[in-house]
């Protein structure tokens, strides 16, 4: 848009507003749609970032009219939107709601969807630009994109675009990920497929790159000369809730490590990209992911567990095997910890420990860079007894920010050195409520701005890393050799995870 005389790269007050477009939402009744997508769309409109005439079409097997759908969106916005509800913003959106009832195998319904979209182009000026958001189980992706293709919905007209948006899981191993890509790739070109990993929409995750590459003081020590090891943790305090059907057979490693934690790893470990455009970032991320290797002995360097009944945060909770819809013999893990090596000059000999679990002590996601001990301490042993290792902790959520942990003298006449924290709190230094990850990502889909979306190459590389571990665990199950270790709800995982680090002479941080 360089030929727009009203635009000027120096004019940074002007926000990026999406061009004329609409979105078609499959799976309107799900949690994801009601709690995240619909509120994010309202919040974007409220911030003036949606184009005039933006339209949202719902598609589901419900006997609804347009108004019923509008009511659903209205309720979801009232309950979950981040910004205040304003009547005029609602009016702007409300005229653009449409609903198409039907099942995914219903040709008639997709015909009607096409007519609806064409009508929107006519009436609301959406210009033939439409994003199809598949907030549905991945088992239906094939049906839906097939229908989109068959009914001519997937092919954009001259000068317009069609995009498809999908959520994780992107397969359950390398083979299925490739299958999924084949299904999608047959209908949409790679750069029209937007995979949402909502972690990448978080300000703190984007800040990892800013912190590393906009500053001089971190990068010189960001290597194996100074870093002892890296811990990446994503802990949840909740159990599987009502998601037994989804979770059983998937487990913590597939659910979290394959996408969120490996994406975090690649941002922390990658080399400096030549620029911040999507291609340059992707090259560096792929480089890191392809240089990840597993230790030889998976029995000593991985751990898995299942929560058992106990008390979490003052509430009595049931164990995983007692959850509704879970077989008593299930070997699905709810806790997974793995050791990864990054075989590059920068990271040689620095293990990356990744762990995730449900029903742990509290909800927290963080990346901790733990530094080596000072080579020589000119203090008496008694003075440094309480001195640990320096650490730089990037807190992703909640309480976003950065903590630097280092030793400091305790006031008094004796020399005594103890660890202290230096904190940077995002919410303290910047806007009180930073935009939700979904706002950023949906806007990026409409703008066609891909840097924050993982491509299928990254997804496949992640599965290549994880598959041997999953196979090893499955083999253990089959031979009846070992099962996920039980761990008490409300703690920090099974003893085997602690033993895994103890073998290397290290301990997990208490996050």
């Amino acid at each position: 848009m360089t030929d727009n005389p009203l635009r000027d790269p120096r004019d940074r007050r002007l926000p990026r507003i999406a061009g004329p477009s609409g979105m078609v939402l499959f799976g309107v009744t799900g949690d994801l749609s009601r709690k995240k997508i619909m509120p994010a769309i309202y919040d974007l409109a409220n911030r003036g970032l949606l184009p005039p005439g933006f339209s949202l079409t719902g598609f589901a097997r419900r006997d609804w009219a347009d108004q019923d759908f509008a009511q659903i969106v209205h309720d979801s916005v009232k309950e979950h939107a981040r910004t205040e509800f304003r009547e005029e913003v609602w009016q702007q959106l409300a005229e653009g709601f449409r609903f198409v009832p039907g099942a995914f195998d219903d040709d008639h319904a997709f015909d009607q969807l096409r007519r609806t979209i064409e009508e929107l182009d006519e009436l609301r000026g959406t210009g033939g630009n439409h994003a199809f958001y598949l907030a549905i189980p991945p088992g239906f992706f094939g049906d839906v994109v097939g229908q989109l293709k068959e009914h001519g919905l997937a092919t954009p007209g001259e000068g317009s675009w069609r995009r498809v948006v999908i959520e994780k899981p992107f397969g359950h191993d390398l083979a299925s990920a490739r299958e999924l890509q084949a299904v999608l790739g047959e209908v949409f070109p790679s750069d029209s497929i937007f995979r949402i990993d909502h972690y990448l929409g978080k300000e703190t995750v984007q800040n990892i790159l800013a912190m590393r590459f906009a500053n001089e003081m971190f990068e010189p020590i960001w290597n194996s000369n100074y870093v002892d090891h890296v811990q990446i943790t994503m802990a949840e305090d909740i159990g599987i809730g009502g998601r037994a059907g989804y979770y059983d057979g998937i487990g913590a490693a597939r659910d979290v490590i394959q996408n969120h934690l490996l994406q975090l790893l690649s941002l922390v470990a990658m080399e400096e990209p030549t620029s911040f455009d999507a291609r340059a970032l992707r090259i560096e991320k792929q480089k890191v992911l392809s240089s990840v290797t597993l230790p030889r002995r998976l029995d000593l360097t991985t751990a898995r567990g299942q929560y058992v009944a106990g008390w979490q945060g003052g509430e009595e909770v049931v164990g995983f095997l007692e959850e509704e819809g879970i077989k008593r013999s299930s070997t699905t893990e709810t806790f997974a910890a793995v050791t990864l090596n990054v075989e590059t000059r920068r990271w040689a000999g620095v293990p990356f420990y990744l762990r995730t679990g449900k029903r742990l002590g509290r909800r927290v996601t963080e990346v901790a860079i733990v530094f080596k001990r000072a080579p020589h301490l000119p203090f008496a042993d008694s003075a440094t007894e309480e001195l640990g290792q320096n650490a730089l902790v990037i807190r992703i959520q909640p309480d976003e920010g950065v903590t630097l942990r280092f030793g400091s003298k305790v006031p008094g006449t004796a020399m005594e050195i103890r660890d202290v924290n230096m904190d940077f709190v995002y919410g303290g230094a910047f806007t009180e409520s930073s935009p939700e990850a979904y706002e950023r990502l949906i806007l990026d889909v409409l703008l066609g701005d891909p840097p924050l979306f993982p491509r299928h190459e990254e997804v496949e590389l992640s599965w290549k890393i994880l598959d041997p571990i999953l196979d090893y665990w499955a083999a253990q199950d089959e031979k009846g050799k070992s099962k996920p270790d039980p761990y008490e709800s409300g703690g920090w995982g099974p003893a085997s995870a602690d033993a895994m680090l103890a073998r290397d002479g290290r301990v997990w941080r208490r996050p």
Binding site: L6, G48, Q92, G125, F430
Partner: protein, 304 residues
């Protein structure tokens, strides 16, 4: 709020530090110092707006009330950290000779390294960059629309003395209009031959919007009077027909363009805290405002 009478900068600084310790968190997350030069009657409202704005930009907010310059010098202050936000405030009343040297009171209270913004909610100095307090700041914020009278002259005066770092809330107010107009031409890259801005008879924002359009589009821009509120309509004429945004009620606009259906767009007039927050978001030079200011002056002389 702690009252300090007959005090000085060192005591105010010490009290700010004590207040932080009392609040339980001696660490400072503040990113800037905001100095507000205000009159007694408007002090409350301005401090409230600044507090609201500093939710986005935690700041040390220093309100400075310049009293009568006669008599012996006296400095009084109210110091506090609010609950529910990370900033801190001091409202400083100056009387007597010290009124001529307010910078001597403010300078020791500036946060180390971080930027300084100064805001005159109603009576800006004729040349903000030459003002003793203005000199301390990277960002000098005036508000031509808040001048009691002579608003049109006020914006011209500010444009005449523009230097890097000056800005006026009349300019901030039109960002949503500008964003929408730019988006309109993104959608339909048509050649504009003429433009019209309709607004209240006296509206520095409308004058700036007209100047911006004229500067960017290189066309004549008519400035029409309407009964408001604020800016009510902008029309860009093209060969294919007009692109028109009309907002009769100050809230909801109608967006119409050639061969396209009319669409409603929320375009609410924003409050002071929002304007201030936008202004504090970027503290580098605003080149586009500089060019617009220059154009406004040229347009002004043409009319005469």
């Amino acid at each position: 709020m702690i009252e300090l009478t007959n005090t000085n900068s060192a005591q105010i600084a010490a009290e700010l530090q004590r207040a932080r310790v009392r609040a339980g968190s001696p660490a400072m997350g503040m990113v800037m110092t905001l100095v507000i030069v205000v009159e007694e009657d408007d002090a409350d409202g301005a401090m409230r707006a600044a507090r609201a704005a500093s939710h986005e930009h935690p700041a040390r907010v220093l309100g400075v009330i310049l009293g009568s310059a006669r008599g012996a010098a006296e400095v009084n202050a109210q110091v506090g950290t609010g609950s529910g936000w990370t900033g801190e405030t001091a409202l400083i009343r100056l009387k007597g000779e010290v009124v001529k040297h307010p910078e001597s009171v403010v300078l020791p209270l500036l946060l180390p390294d971080s930027p300084v913004a100064v805001w005159w909610p109603n009576h800006p100095p004729a040349d903000p960059a030459a003002d003793p307090l203005g000199k301390l700041a990277q960002r000098r914020i005036t508000d031509a629309a808040a001048a009691a009278r002579g608003k049109t002259t006020a914006i011209h005066t500010q444009c005449e003395v523009y230097t890097a770092g000056n800005t006026d809330l009349a300019w901030t107010r039109i960002t949503p209009w500008r964003a929408l107009l730019a988006a309109a031409l993104d959608q339909q890259p048509l050649k504009v031959s003429h433009a019209t801005v309709a607004a209240e008879r006296i509206s520095p924002s409308a004058d700036l919007l007209a100047a911006w359009l004229s500067d960017r589009l290189k066309v004549d821009v008519d400035r029409k009077s309407s009964s408001g509120p604020g800016i009510t309509e902008v029309v860009l004429d093209t060969k294919e027909g007009p692109i028109r945004i009309s907002r009769p009620d100050g809230r909801l606009a109608t967006f119409s363009s050639p061969d396209r259906p009319d669409r409603p767009v929320a375009l609410k007039r924003r409050d002071l805290p929002e304007l201030l927050a936008e202004e504090l978001r970027r503290l580098d030079e605003d080149d586009v405002y500089a060019e617009t200011a220059r154009r406004l002056l040229k347009m002004g002389t043409k009319k005469k």
